[in-house]
């Protein structure tokens, strides 16, 4: 490495990996913005919402679930800090704790998704059902990708911490923060049908 040229210089700015994740988040947030915009566009051009006598979404279970997922923001952030401090054991521990809760969330939600389609109303019913399941499905897909990130990270961290992996922990922690915000927005949007 030619890092001798850095001697005596204070650290300046975030790593490129952080910036790359910022770009992914910006792009995905805009995609979700389009979905949410579509939801409200359809809603405000439809007389009764949900239409055709479809049931309103349940309130308690989604709120509890989204609270659990939001709580994982803490261990993810702690994992990111521990990685930057070079504490491998702590990084792995926080990641495992977060993964445990996130997997539980995903297992429940994906099962519920299937149950809803089977027993409440399916995606082909009308425009409301279409945007309802697309929003929900897109959000679950992002949680699933986050789980894959976690597993990959734990696999990489089994062989120790490198600068590359520290950057990866930081970037993936940030991905999760964004997914949590997206989940809050999606849940809020879908629950707004109760109003």
């Amino acid at each position: 490495m030619s890092d001798h040229i850095l001697a005596g210089r204070p650290a300046a700015g975030r790593p490129a990996a952080w910036w790359a994740m910022a770009m992914l988040i910006a792009s995905e947030a805009t995609l979700f913005g389009s979905f949410v915009g579509t939801y409200y566009y359809l809603r405000f051009t439809t007389r009764v919402w949900p239409p055709d006598g479809l049931p309103k979404p349940a309130l308690a279970v989604p709120l509890v679930l989204v609270a659990c997922l939001t709580a994982t923001s803490v261990p993810m952030q702690l994992a990111s800090r521990a990685a930057r401090a070079g504490r491998l054991g702590a990084t792995r521990l926080f990641l495992v704790v977060a993964l445990f809760v996130q997997s539980g969330y995903f297992a429940f939600e994906s099962n519920d998704f299937g149950e809803q389609i089977k027993h409440r109303f399916d995606i082909t019913r009308n425009a409301y059902s279409s945007i309802y399941y697309v929003l929900l499905g897109a959000d679950h897909a992002h949680v699933f990708v986050g789980l894959l990130f976690d597993l990959w990270l734990l696999w990489k961290l089994a062989r120790g911490l490198t600068r590359y992996r520290v950057n990866a922990v930081q970037a993936i922690a940030w991905y999760w923060q964004a997914v949590i915000v997206l989940t809050l927005v999606v849940t809020g949007t879908l629950l707004s049908a109760r109003a």
């Binding site: 490495m1 030619s2 890092d3 040229i5 850095l6 210089r9 650290a11 300046a12 700015g13 790593p15 490129a16 910036w19 790359a20 770009m23 992914l24 910006a26 792009s27 995905e28 805009t30 995609l31 913005g33 389009s34 979905f35 579509t38 566009y41 359809l42 051009t45 439809t46 239409p51 055709d52 995606i123 082909t124 019913r125 009308n126 425009a127 409301y128 059902s129 279409s130 945007i131 697309v134 894959l148 990959w152 990489k156 490198t162 600068r163 590359y164 992996r165």
Partner: protein, 637 residues
Amino acid sequence: MAVVEAPESPAAAERLDRLEQIWRSRPGLLGWLTTTDHKRVGLLYLWTTLAFFAAGGAESLLIRTQLAQPNSHVVSPSTFDELFSMHGITMIFFFIIPMTTGAFGNYLLPLMIGARDMAFPRMNALSYWIFLASGIFLYTSLGLGMAPNAGWFDYVPLASRAFDPGRNVDFYCLGIIFNSIASTLTAAQFIVTIFKSRAPGMSLNRLPLFCYAQLAAAFGLLFALPPLSADTIFLFLDRNVGTHFFDVALGGKSLLWQHLFWIFGHPEVYILIVPAFGIATSIIPAFTQRKLVAFPLVGIAELLVVFIGFGVWAHHMFATGLPTISLVFFAAATAMVVIPSTIQVFAWCMSFVTGTPQFKTPLLFIAGFIFMFVTGGLTGIMFMAIPFDQQVTDTYFVIAHFHYIIFGAAVFPIFGGLYYWFPKVTGKLYLERPGQLSFWIVFVGTNLLFFPMHIVGLLGMPRRQYTYPDGLGWTSYNLAETIGGFLTAAGILLLLGNLVYSYRKGADAGSDPWHGPTLEWATTSPPPEYNFPVVPKVTSAYANWDRDDREEDRRRLAEGLFVLEQGHEQVEVSAVDARLSDVVPMPHESPWPPLLAASLALVFSMLLLRKFGVAGVMAVLCVLTLVGWHSREPAEQ
């Protein structure tokens, strides 16, 4: 003079040798398949986009041949539908965007900011391979007789399954989403590279205007493509899964398609032309030998024009029955776009007036571009008058307007840029007289092609019309347009012929034949794989005109400062003021980008065939490819 030429000391020569060893590309075809070198990726983009340009051009000539005479049947009506749809899709998604960002941006951006490569070289290669795969995917439809046939903006309900039951529109939806992945990767890459990989000292106020333009286009792509993806996902689901986003009978809305499409579609216009503005702002200082007038204003205007472009989408929908208050709002917003556009036009023109312009071929194309852009801009302002817009919507007047913008303001600078940077890329000079002749042929050809379209549009000729009866007063205009089309094609062939001939037999260009203002002219032609032997010193936006700094580079090389000769490395800087913050290892060549693009192509092919389970399995293949991609970290290579 370039720093790499004739190093003055043996120590410097040894350092160059070491850099040569570290950055050497793998030879042969495998080297091109696995390349991560931004220059090679740029060239791959260039050749591929030229191939798509040829395809899109051939489609337009067929359209013009069909329309040259009344009651003509050169092609069938269904083929005609496919031709105009594919022409639009190709020119926008597979020629102009990838040419200005993929080819020009990739090749030049790192050179202009004094970097050795992009911030994420493997991702850069991936964006090319995905672009190529999406192009092949889309063009397969033409071979199968199932090409998109509902126009480039693919309005529903025409594009819904009830009215277009074949796979044509499915090819459109999936091809566009596939292509969007490549453009999003390019956008993310450019933004991070511009913010993080500049030479220390190149604070944002010293960033060349070409890079500002690329930055503006990258931000535009990043935020404009997701609404298009959402739209095409909805349409694909409506057609293949049975959802009802656009089905009015079950609560869907046809206008939803138009809103989402134009939220993408209008910024898209600026995404097409702003990088071309960047090319103009590179060529004008070189051939007027003066700094561009109002540098900071032009930089801000490049960003603003894209930003405001996000707020004007409904002016494409003035004839759809939106409430009057919405129409007035969007008409006013449209007027705002004039301000940053005019700032730039004035800055370009004043640079001509106050400099000493040398009208060589690149500058001729830029002068032509300004003429075309102003003409197209003036007809654009006419659309703000809502009753006028409603009168000419879907007529040839609109076609005339946007071709003056897209061909005049995007393609003219592309041609100018091809001539301007040809000596840098090849080390050879092009032939000046045939170059100037090619400009005049293209200039006369395009005006003959597009200007009469204003008139036939006002006379009532609708766009996408398969044929027309005699006696409507359209015939001679249409014939003139067709002659103009073929004349333009002849000019383009002369341009390409000039470049091919000059590549083989042209005179040596040296490193800086134009006395260019930016850093790409500070290295040899063609540039070495490591771009610069030292990280260049930068103290202004016209770094190559700062002789003291270039002397300093030579001193740095002799003393071994900022050479980064101990690894495959690049510097990172702070985002705004470009303070040196890190030295990072860069990845070497990699087979994973083309493999991932191929896996993605399988996913999209399975989706097209409605084999959703198999598509899922192919998605697992993509994940495994990504795991393989990350199995070796750059520092381990």
